[in-house]
């Protein structure tokens, strides 16, 4: 009845490629939906962004083997989606965007069924189903029929069924859709906790920049079925830390941006005047924000405001959307 060989494989080493898109193209109903996608995704949590109809869900479905590529291929953990669909699915958990459940079952029975279909023996499936439901925060409601759940509970039970069999890779398609703010916060906390646990990689498809920014380390932006941008958010954030906006005043409260700019330039900073008498600085390597405070204190000036640039994902996304019709930037 049971085999010892695990289908889910071993832990993924940090930095190893999870998904390799190799000229992947998909046509549905005679229309090209994905075109020549090329990228190597390797982060712990990767955001899949794009406007409606960009091909995010189609990409997930193609990686799951629901649609056959019309050209090129992709590899998930090194396995080709054209030839090793079952082996790939064994390592995946999928939370679909739309309402998806098996009618007439309680939450726990539903999650148990899904775990058994993934290959867990019945006792282990029951145990994992309870653990997954507890993990996502569905208490006694797990004994109620799934049909009677609220939208938020349905999202949670969908996440539980995606987790119950212990996958290495999670596909979450618009997980915060229709959730109220507390439920959304809870969902994002769960995603971050899975990411930080390191036991599973997460692909988060969303059109909400904030969700992706709060959870993801890397982002793949699709536009009209093409890769518009693939960026590492951490690296972008680190780069943005070098960009500061300051408001500097003298002891009597008079604006002192020009005087401070001279001092900062002596440290090697690039300076430019900003709006409302503010100063924009790009810090060179070896110079940190605290050096600015030291500099100001030495000159008897006061730094009244210091901002890091924080809307990096929005910048990346908008830049990608401004590209040409084919999505290239």
């Amino acid at each position: 009845m049971s085999q010892r060989t695990s289908e889910t494989g071993h832990q993924v080493p940090p930095g190893a490629a999870i998904i390799e898109l190799d000229g992947l193209a998909v046509s549905l109903g005679g229309r090209a939906v994905l075109r020549d996608l090329r990228a190597t995704l390797a982060g712990r949590c990767i955001g899949l962004l794009g406007p409606n109809g960009a091909g995010k869900t189609t990409l997930l479905h193609t990686l799951l083997g629901f649609f056959r590529p019309s050209a090129g291929t992709a590899r998930v953990f090194g396995k080709d989606i054209r030839t090793e669909t079952a082996a790939i699915r064994a390592q995946m958990g999928y939370m679909p965007e739309s309402d998806s459940f098996v009618a007439g079952m309680s939450g726990v029975r539903f999650v148990r069924l899904m775990a058994e279909l993934s290959g867990l023996p019945p006792p282990a499936a029951l145990e994992r189903a309870h653990e997954a439901l507890f993990y996502v925060g569905l208490g006694e409601a797990r004994y109620r029929p799934v049909d009677s759940y609220s939208l938020g509970m349905k999202q949670l039970v969908k996440l539980a069924q995606a987790l119950a069999h212990g996958p290495r890779l999670l596909f979450l398609d618009e997980p915060t859709n229709g959730l109220d703010p507390p439920a959304r916060r809870r969902m994002l906390e769960l995603i971050r906790s899975i990411r930080d646990g390191g036991e599973a990689r997460v692909i988060l498809s969303s059109h909400l920049l904030r969700d992706v920014e709060e959870c993801c380390e890397e982002v793949l932006v699709l536009k009209a079925g093409r890769v518009a941008v693939y960026a590492n958010l951490e690296a972008e954030r680190r780069a943005n830390r070098r960009l500061l906006e300051l408001e500097v005043r003298a002891a009597d409260g008079a604006p002192a941006a020009p005087a401070f700019a001279e001092l900062a330039a002596a440290l090697g900073c690039e300076c430019a005047p900003g709006a409302r008498q503010r100063l924009k600085l790009v810090l060179p390597d070896g110079v940190e924000a605290r050096d600015m405070f030291r500099l100001a204190a030495g000159a008897g000036l006061q730094i009244r405001r210091l901002d890091y640039k924080r809307d990096s994902l929005e910048d990346i996304f908008l830049k990608a959307m401004e590209g040409d019709a084919d999505g290239r930037v």
Partner: protein, 289 residues
């Protein structure tokens, strides 16, 4: 994912073999079906004809038990022949119950999964479309087997044991007819019912469609046969086609003039058509052109 830690952990325990994973589907589906008391009552009713057959076989070999009624024993022995026609007729009766069972159970098997996007969840796992169809098919196969070939073969064995001599050798074709005939019914009826369930999402409508396919097509075929005087129109009648195939398997006279080859061809073609339609529908997501 230990509860006390409240963190996510991967599963690294043993896994079931992929070949037998389709059996998960009937286990859950049968448990759901058997929750209905009305269905359990109906299902118990399906066992009455085999029970009546058991009594007939017993009486056939224990006529002395009826002596108390002062009945003419020789005539009774003639009136209770246990032969190919007896088993064929009992299979036909059980076939009718099997049809009713398919009408009740099948519409609830696939259409709810399509309505609630459940197929995407099944098929995102190491679980193929074939395994899904096989799993759903085995729900009906198990239920129908229990009222057709399993009691049929038990009655056959009882009859052979009580008759003694070379009865088994003389009547081997009955065994073939019971087993193969039942599976012909199970496969064709289940595939037809599942196909209707896959294409008609609303359960009551699916039941009506099944009744129309069976009774109305049967009546239409009969009327056309009477009007045109040819057996061709009887190919529309699933009942006549299956009974002709059964007659061929049991080695008895067919119910109409339809040749066995035509009945087999119609049955195989119908089954393949159902299979094609079923697989066309059983997909994680439908592509809208």
């Amino acid at each position: 994912m230990a509860v006390y830690e409240r963190t996510y952990h991967r599963y690294d325990g043993p896994l079931t073999t992929r070949r037998r994973r389709f059996l998960v589907v009937p286990r859950y589906a049968l448990a759901a079906v058997m929750r209905s008391r009305a269905f359990v009552m109906f299902y118990l009713l399906c066992f009455l004809p085999p029970f009546a057959g058991l009594i007939m076989i017993y009486l056939r070999h224990n006529l002395s038990a009826l002596k108390v009624l002062n009945l003419p024993l020789d005539r009774l022995r003639e009136a209770l022949p246990i032969d190919a026609r007896f088993f064929s007729a009992s299979l036909a009766l059980q076939g009718f119950f099997a049809f009713l069972l398919a009408v009740v159970v099948a519409p609830a098997l696939i259409s709810p999964d399509l309505r609630n996007n459940g197929l995407a969840l099944y098929l995102s796992r190491p679980f193929s479309r074939s395994a899904y169809v096989l799993g759903k098919l085995s729900v009906l196969a198990l239920l129908i087997s229990a009222i057709t070939w399993i009691p049929g073969i038990l009655l056959f064995l009882l009859q052979g044991y009580l008759e003694g001599g070379g009865w088994f050798g003389e009547q081997w074709r009955v065994l073939l007819g019971l087993f193969a005939g039942s599976w012909v019914l199970i496969v064709s009826l289940s595939l037809l019912a599942l196909t209707v369930s896959a294409w008609v999402k609303w359960k009551p409508v699916a039941r009506i469609v099944l009744l129309i396919l069976f009774f109305v097509m049967n009546a239409f075929g009969r009327i056309m046969e009477m009007a045109l005087g040819t057996w061709w129109s009887e190919l529309l009648s699933m009942r006549v086609v299956i009974q002709t195939v059964w007659a061929n398997l049991f080695g008895i006279a067919p119910p109409t003039g339809m040749p066995a080859g035509a009945a087999w061809t119609a049955l195989v073609a119908g089954t393949l058509l159902c299979l094609g339609l079923l697989f066309r529908r059983v997909r994680a997501y439908e592509v809208v052109r």
